[in-house]
């Protein structure tokens, strides 16, 4: 799926979260979205994923204006997107397996097939042994991996990961990056992070600051206050 933003602006009450952001994302591209806390990274991801309607400008999926899609049409198109949330967004009242099965609800996937796909997704993130546990019993890193499995179970064309390394220790962060790197093959990937994640080698960076896109191009560590080579 090709995604385009044209002069997108988002207001949260009187506060400006995004201003005049224009960018394009071609199928199969890998992008790192970085910038300081509160710069608009999460807002931009949500706008791209159709979870937040921009106050101004337009977001297009394969040339189609998202604002012109009805709710059913938007959900149908969103079915090819996967989102790993900053807060992992798992339901503690359900087991890990039930959480991963959720995206397959009402998609015409048979019970056996859904279960097989969910277990395959859990195996891919190394969590099959925790399938029957509740998310509240998992560590932060395991919860993130469960969130990644839930995003992967629908075999998304585009995978968004919103600050997946937040609050993780260095070893877990490295393991999560390796996992994302493996799963990114053959699909579009947008990872947001305040600083470049370890292991992940992404050659296109979007840098946002104060709600504006200040860089769209090759890695520019100096723009986010990181020394080259670190």
């Amino acid at each position: 799926m090709r995604m385009d933003c044209e002069r997108v602006g988002v207001l949260h009450g009187p506060a400006r979260a995004l201003a005049e952001v224009s960018l394009s994302l071609a199928p199969g591209e890998h992008v790192l979205l970085c910038g300081p806390a509160g710069s608009g990274k999460t807002t931009l991801l949500k706008v791209l994923a159709g979870l937040l309607r921009p106050t101004s400008g337009a977001v297009r999926w394969d040339g189609e204006d998202v604002a012109h899609l009805d709710e059913a049409g938007r959900r149908r198109r969103q079915a090819s997107l996967g989102m790993v949330f900053q807060t992992d967004a798992l339901f503690d009242s359900r087991t890990v397996l039930e959480n991963v099965l959720l995206p397959l609800h009402n998609r015409g996937v048979g019970r056996e097939e859904a279960r097989a796909r969910a277990e395959a997704a859990l195996e891919a993130v190394g969590l099959l042994q925790a399938a029957r546990m509740r998310p509240e019993a998992l560590s932060g890193g395991m919860r993130k991996r469960a969130g990644i499995a839930r995003a992967l179970v629908v075999a998304p064309e585009v995978l968004f990961a919103d600050d997946p390394l937040a609050g993780q220790d260095p070893a877990t962060a490295r393991a999560l990056c390796e996992l994302l790197d493996r799963q990114a093959a053959g699909r579009t990937l947008v990872v947001s992070s305040p600083e470049p994640p370890p292991v992940l080698t992404i050659q296109r960076w979007w840098v946002v600051d104060g709600g504006r896109l200040v860089h769209d191009g090759p890695p520019a560590p100096a723009l986010i206050g990181v020394e080259e080579g670190t």
């Binding site: 949330f85 807060t87 995206p103 609800h105």
Partner: protein, 259 residues
């Protein structure tokens, strides 16, 4: 004077906004109900219905005893002990039973539903459902609404039955009215319409609690303070909705069922 009018205007606008939000939630919930997740429905029945049975039985016991003790004072004073069964039965089935049950469930079920939804909203789970292209209404909200409403109707039937039994026992124990006299007076003047009227009212109260608490939970913002406010607001608004509905439903149902 202008400050009073301004406050009145603000209050009216807030009430209209809350009513509008609740109407939207109700509309979307009813539209999603045929597609709702059955597993979540079963879970919600256990969560909101079965787990509320204990408190409803306590309410039934209290109502049964309270109504007989209170009306017994007047029955004794005016020598109308023969009418005690009818008066107490009528009071419990039509008024005290549904109303007290509704208010207790507003506090127990409404606050719980609103607080849970507020936590799910703050934790990103509701947005997470949209992120995996799922509509929260059939997956999460409609099952809760149906379970709360239907549970209230079922719990009302049990509560009214237990309350009436408690009336019989308490009339005999505290006033010496024989059970046969008490139930005879009750059977002479009360019919199935009265029980149906009370249960129907409770069903509407359940729908009000479900709608208001869902609307409040979905509008919550912030952390612990937001969750606390949502729970408190759900109880207050649900109680107001119950009192308003009681005022409207009593004459409508009485007229409809007496035909």
């Amino acid at each position: 004077m202008s400050a009073v009018l301004a406050a009145l205007g603000r209050g009216t606008l807030a009430a209209a906004r809350a009513a509008g939000q609740s109407a939207l939630v109700l509309g979307r919930t009813l539209r999603a109900a045929p597609r709702m997740n059955r597993r979540e429905l079963l879970r919600a029945f256990g969560h909101f219905g079965w787990e509320s049975l204990g408190i409803c039985l306590w309410v039934a016991v209290v109502i049964g005893v309270m109504v007989v003790v209170q009306s017994g004072l007047y029955a004794n004073r005016f020598g109308a002990r023969m009418a005690l069964g009818w008066a107490s039965g009528f009071a419990v089935t039509w008024e005290f039973g549904p109303l007290l049950l509704g208010v207790v469930l507003a506090a127990r079920v409404g606050a719980r539903n609103a607080a849970e939804l507020a936590v799910l909203k703050a934790g990103g789970q509701l947005e997470g459902l949209s992120g995996i292209s799922l509509d929260p209404y059939p997956v999460l909200l409609a099952p809760r609404w149906v379970a709360i409403t239907a549970s209230t109707g079922m719990l009302a039937s049990v509560t009214l039955l237990v309350a009436v039994c408690m009336e019989v026992v308490s009339a005999w124990a505290s006033l010496g009215v024989p059970p046969r006299v008490f139930t005879g007076s009750m059977a002479d003047a009360l019919g199935w319409q009265d029980v149906l009227g009370g249960t129907t009212k409770a069903l509407f109260f359940g729908a009000a609690v479900a709608t208001v608490s869902t609307a409040v939970g979905l509008r919550a913002s912030g952390g612990a303070r937001g969750v606390g406010l949502a729970a408190a607001s759900a109880v207050v608004r649900s109680s107001f909705a119950i009192f308003g509905l009681d005022l409207l439903l009593t004459p409508v149902l009485a007229a409809g069922l007496s035909r």
